[in-house]
Symmetry: C2
Subunit: 272 residues, 2 copies
């Protein structure tokens, strides 16, 4: 595995690859969720590029940029074990210059996560577009956990005619159901236990819908009831373009939940 | 030559090209200026793609979109004569969809042309990025006549790490000095004659600098004096990044002039 730090190196390497390229962009602190993306990329492509870059432009001023978990050495080992071909780990000054041509995410980037974190998705799309232009992947892999991010990236690829397949990948969970997240390390023991109510509520909502329920309010009520003891930020049911819906369509519905534990926001969702 | 109308056709064709690709984006109404770009592209690349698309998002509401000259049949013939390989002529609905991921040009897009035409360069960069993603050129050709556009496209390519060489091409002029422009057809006979003062003033400014003048005001005064009888919108002297300068540096200076004839704005410039 080759670790790449500069734009020039990456561009030179990419220029000479004629095989299929799978790309997995990450912010590091790799866990089994990331590993599942990398494994899928390995199965489906001849060359795999992983990037690790904690992108400052997608953090709001009051957010956890400075204490976001960094585990470079462990991450490099994980990528080696997964037989990644190229690991791109640029510095902030490598990825961002001063007077920038910016990407403006569409209106649906200012609801839900984008409502709580205005401008977050502008930063995400900006850096993902840059990484796409550098790596020119055949296929790029994103977890469904960051559902809104995934949908916005799919929309960017469509709007800007990027010749890239976006591959959505299922959420990976602990044995007890907690969705994997680099931010789970912030939870104390009690919070970690209480957080199980999140996935439980989503499973119960799923069963309810499987047994025929189509009413949004009934499903939301069920979720709120199970998570009654938690600090719920939102429970929302949308279609796969992130538009509000009036009735549940089982093949085109995402149920999204955000719960706060102190300053930590945990996201979870199911795609029906 | 193959004329292409849809995204799918173009993407399929591009996917199978492994040779070098030269790309010349235009708004049609092709004149010798465009032809010089196409010829240069032919010399320097194995495959040449030309696009003709009058992009509505770069016109302001009060501008000449509806009466912008359209000469599709003549344009197709010119491209055939120039041995263009692929001519991409999409409809507006092919290039633009509703809920868009947008490109925001940097601050220096709101001076000069961008001051008179706020938002113009956002539209230009948006459509050029889309065309770049579709055609994935090795080299892309732009005239120096639209100097600010050229500089902003160079900046976009740099900021977004696009693996494309931008090739600036010299302004092509009529024998009497008038810079070629699709908008020259709007001029009546008297206006056409008076318009010669524009290039004349730039030539004289060039000679003045060649003879040692480095003072901005002295050069501007000379230009204003020669174009005294015209409706001058601006005369500006900037460096090659479009920053204001205090003294003329012969290797890094552009003199820009915009003159109005009724509703018609004529741009001209020299790169020292």
């Amino acid at each position: 595995m080759e670790v790449i730090k500069t734009i020039e190196e990456l561009q030179n390497i990419r220029k000479n690859i004629t095989k299929s390229v799978g790309f997995v962009p990450t912010m590091g602190a790799l866990h089994n969720g990331h590993i599942s993306l990398i494994k899928k990329a390995k199965e489906e492509n001849e060359i795999v590029i992983v990037s690790i870059f904690v992108n400052p432009t997608q953090f709001l001023p009051n957010e956890d940029l400075s204490k976001y978990p960094r585990k470079d050495e462990a991450d490099i080992k994980i990528c080696q074990m997964c037989k990644v071909d190229y690991l791109f780990m640029p510095e902030v000054s490598t990825m961002h210059t001063n007077e920038e041509v910016l990407i403006k995410a569409p209106q649906n980037s200012y609801v839900l996560e984008g409502f709580t974190r205005p401008g977050h998705f502008d930063g995400v799309l900006q850096v993902v577009l840059k990484l796409f232009n550098l790596t020119q992947p055949t296929n790029a892999y994103f977890g469904k956990k960051d559902a809104q991010q995934l949908v916005l990236i799919q929309q960017m690829v469509k709007n800007l005619f990027l010749p890239i397949n976006i591959i959505p990948c299922d959420i990976v969970r602990e044995v007890d159901g907690l969705a994997l997240s680099s931010r789970n390390v912030y939870l104390d023991k009690t919070q970690r236990e209480n957080a199980l109510l999140i996935s439980k509520s989503l499973y119960m909502a799923g069963s309810l819908i499987a047994s025929g329920e189509r009413n949004i309010k009934a499903v939301k009520d069920k979720i709120y009831k199970i998570m009654n003891s938690l600090d719920i930020e939102y429970v929302t049911i949308v279609d796969k373009n992130f538009n509000e819906i009036n009735i549940i369509e089982p093949s085109n519905t995402i149920i999204l939940v955000v719960v706060r534990f102190g300053n930590v926001r945990l996201l979870d969702n199911i795609w029906l």
